[in-house]
């Protein structure tokens, strides 16, 4: 058990535990806060994968914006301070069965794949993943078109969200 494996196991259990608490807890604000800890665990996963730009962007975008949006939405859509009623709907055992089936299906499908036990490929020397990512995002031979389309999508979402949630007095 190398130290990298021990760290991975700790972070994975932390993230999965927080994920289970997100879907399992009754108090919705607590669910949003458990989501924050799940997102933080995923950011640590990115750092373990040497994708440090993704890790920092995860914290900035997900925890700094999306999680706060969730907390605001939870606070704005409740009739009283306490949560009321059951938090899981009637067929929840069926959903649990389906989730277990999906997980075992994915695991079984991956089991037969020969690349499962691969270890990390080496970085070529002098490889700066940050500048390569920047070049890939704006180079016409690479991914500039998805990048621009994503920015148009964000503009559309911005205008749409403001229009939908606008409170016409």
């Amino acid at each position: 058990m190398t130290s990298a494996q021990i760290i991975f196991i700790i972070v994975a259990f932390f993230t999965l535990g927080s994920g289970v608490m997100v879907v399992g807890t009754g108090n919705l604000i607590h669910a949003a806060l458990w989501l924050v800890s799940t997102l933080f665990g995923v950011a640590v996963m990115y750092a373990l994968l040497n994708a440090n730009f993704l890790a920092v962007i995860q914290v900035v975008v997900y925890i700094g914006a999306i999680a706060i949006l969730f907390i605001f939405a939870v606070m704005l859509t409740r009739k009283e301070i306490r949560d009321q009623g059951p938090q899981l709907n009637k067929g929840w055992w069926l959903s649990a069965l389906l989730a277990v089936l999906v997980f075992s299906g994915l695991a079984a499908m991956l089991w037969g794949w020969e690349g499962m036990s691969r270890t990390a490929a080496e970085f070529p020397s002098g490889f700066d993943s940050m500048s390569e990512l920047g070049t890939a995002l704006i180079s016409p031979n690479a991914y500039v078109l998805p990048f621009e389309v994503a920015s148009v999508l964000l503009l559309a979402a911005l205008i749409g969200a403001v229009y939908i949630a606008f409170n016409r007095k």
């Binding site: 969730f70 859509t77 709907n89």
Partner: protein
Amino acid sequence: MVPLSWYLIFSAALFSVGLFGVLARRNAVAILLGVELMLNAVNVNLAAFWRYLDPVKMGGQVFAVIVFAVAAAEVAVGLALVISVYRQRNTVVADEIDMLKW
């Protein structure tokens, strides 16, 4: 060294937890929380494949960045819809929002 299988099993597990959250919760905001978990699981999967197969080709990381943007856009519009529905119907329980016009 951490084998690739561990990352893939982890992301499959996180995806299933998110799937349970989407299917089993009553509150609309809680359903969106489950969707967020699923998107994060997929992103970890993409980043793991980028790192383990060929880190020189930036396709995996670029895909993950685009998924960030799409997830942020979807959460913004989804929560705006939930708030708007709450203003109209005064409820966010997904089972009670079942008639188009009353």
